[in-house]
Amino acid sequence: MEKTLFEKYGGFSTVSKIVMDLYDTLLDDDDVGPFFDDVDMPRLIDHQTKFVASLMGGPASFTDTHIQRAHHNLDIAPVHFDRLKEIIEGTLEKFEVEREDIETVLGAFESRRKLLLGD
């Protein structure tokens, strides 16, 4: 069986660092940060952990319905989505994820654009 990116980059030990870095960057970012103003820390961490784990093929998976439901009452504009994409790219670069793999992750993320932005 082919290794998932999750396994390739060292499993939870690396993913945990990516999650923490992403969490720091997101909260400090003035475009996407405000979405997390009223989200409690454990919930947000839980969300980020599952988000990164699922993007990298780890032990979490979200159905499209689940993603849609989790975001449907948020007013997400294309600029927010693009910004988050940039942040993910930056974080993965920081952890020396290979370009090809970054593209894979971003591709997986991009394919959910419609689910987050609504119609």
């Binding site: 409690d40 839980d46 952990t49």
Partner: protein, 351 residues
């Protein structure tokens, strides 16, 4: 720069929040830079009760009175981030001034990591649970294809070595006029009927110590004594055979399709093994299987024919009537016998 000035600089710049609390007024007197970063500068209240609403002031005062230390945790928001600090109050040495030193360690990261570990372990637990469930399903499927002992061997060694079973009994069955039944009925109906019948056979067989090896269209093949030895294997298949017919006769009374089974029984050695590399099937073959199939071919509808190999292994609970030799085919040595269950009185009388 004096030592005092250096000390103060250090105290201000350190990454730990430090403040001095007046225990009489419960207000802060000194706050270092980190403390101010977290809890606000001149604009912020200096009252402990305002800054830390969850702090138990009475307990704090009590502990300070006794010259002890007091610890607590406090959470607050810094921009969007929920920060958590571990607070540590220590009574300062001077007895004339009632002052405590408050040290706040930033444990936000620890809390965040704890949350992440919680989240991750829940994911892993759920996955482990799912894997376990899948494993059970695979095991169930494999146990449908092979006996448990063969499965255990397969699991440990990756292969199942062929084994000879010297003395077992075989039951084979097919249906008279199966072609005609096929022609005149919907295939789905036939499959569902066969499913019904084979399930009943499996249940009856299990009751008498027979295990189904396989079915192939209208043929059903079971064995007693593989892989676990059965002392009275001949009796097992004979008993099962008689009840198969009884079940079918009763079923035929209320169903449009009449299933007329022909059964062949034989005893002898067989080989049991898993056959195939990609598609594992536990199979049983050998002289007893051959004989049972040939015997079945001679059975009229709704009748059981027993090979001579099984005849001597059965007691008077079954009556065996010699079949007249076939005209076209050579008869197996020892002849063939029509098998029926002896009526209660006959069996009793014979004992």
């Amino acid at each position: 720069m004096t030592i005092e000035a250096i000390n103060e600089q250090l105290l201000r710049a350190i990454g730990v929040g430090v403040a001095l609390a007046d225990l009489d007024t419960l207000e802060l007197k000194f706050r270092n830079d980190t403390f101010i970063d977290w809890f606000g500068g001149p604009e912020a209240s200096l009252r402990l009760g305002d800054l830390f609403p969850s702090l138990d002031l009475e307990a704090l005062s009590g502990e300070m009175e006794n010259g002890g230390t007091f610890t607590a945790e406090a959470s607050f928001k810094l921009k969007r981030r929920r920060m958590t600090v571990a607070m540590d109050f220590t009574r300062a040495g001077n007895s004339t001034e009632r002052i405590a030193v408050l040290v706040c360690q930033n444990i936000t990261r620890i809390k965040e990591l704890e949350s992440m570990i919680d989240s991750y372990s829940m994911m892993v637990e759920r996955n482990t649970h799912e894997i376990k469930r899948e494993k059970e399903q695979v095991e169930k499927l494999l146990l449908n294809m092979m006996p448990r002992s063969a499965y255990e061997e397969y699991k440990s060694f990756g292969v199942v070595a062929p084994r000879i079973f010297e003395s077992v009994s075989v039951l084979t069955l097919d249906f008279e006029n199966f072609d005609k039944i096929l022609e005149s009925n919907d295939p789905a109906v036939i499959v569902s009927e066969l499913n019904d019948i084979y399930t009943a056979f499996d249940r009856i067989g299990e009751q008498f110590g027979c295990e189904r090896v396989r079915t192939n269209g209208d043929s059903y093949f079971a064995v007693s004594g593989v892989p676990d030895p059965v002392l009275n294997h001949a009796e097992s298949v004979a008993n099962a055979a008689v009840r198969f017919l009884r079940y079918l006769a009763r079923r035929n009374e209320s169903h449009p399709i009449r299933w007329e089974a022909r059964l062949g029984l034989a005893s002898g050695p067989v080989v049991g093994s898993v056959v195939g590399v990609q598609r594992y099937i536990y199979d049983v073959f050998g002289p007893a299987v051959e004989r049972a199939s040939k015997t079945r071919a001679r059975a009229p509808g709704m009748a059981i024919v027993a090979d001579a190999s099984i005849r001597d292994l059965l007691d008077t609970r079954f009556t065996l009537t010699a079949l007249p030799p076939a005209r076209v085919r050579p008869e197996p040595q020892g002849g063939l016998y029509l098998l029926e269950e002896a009526s209660q009185s006959e069996a009793h009388g014979a004992l």
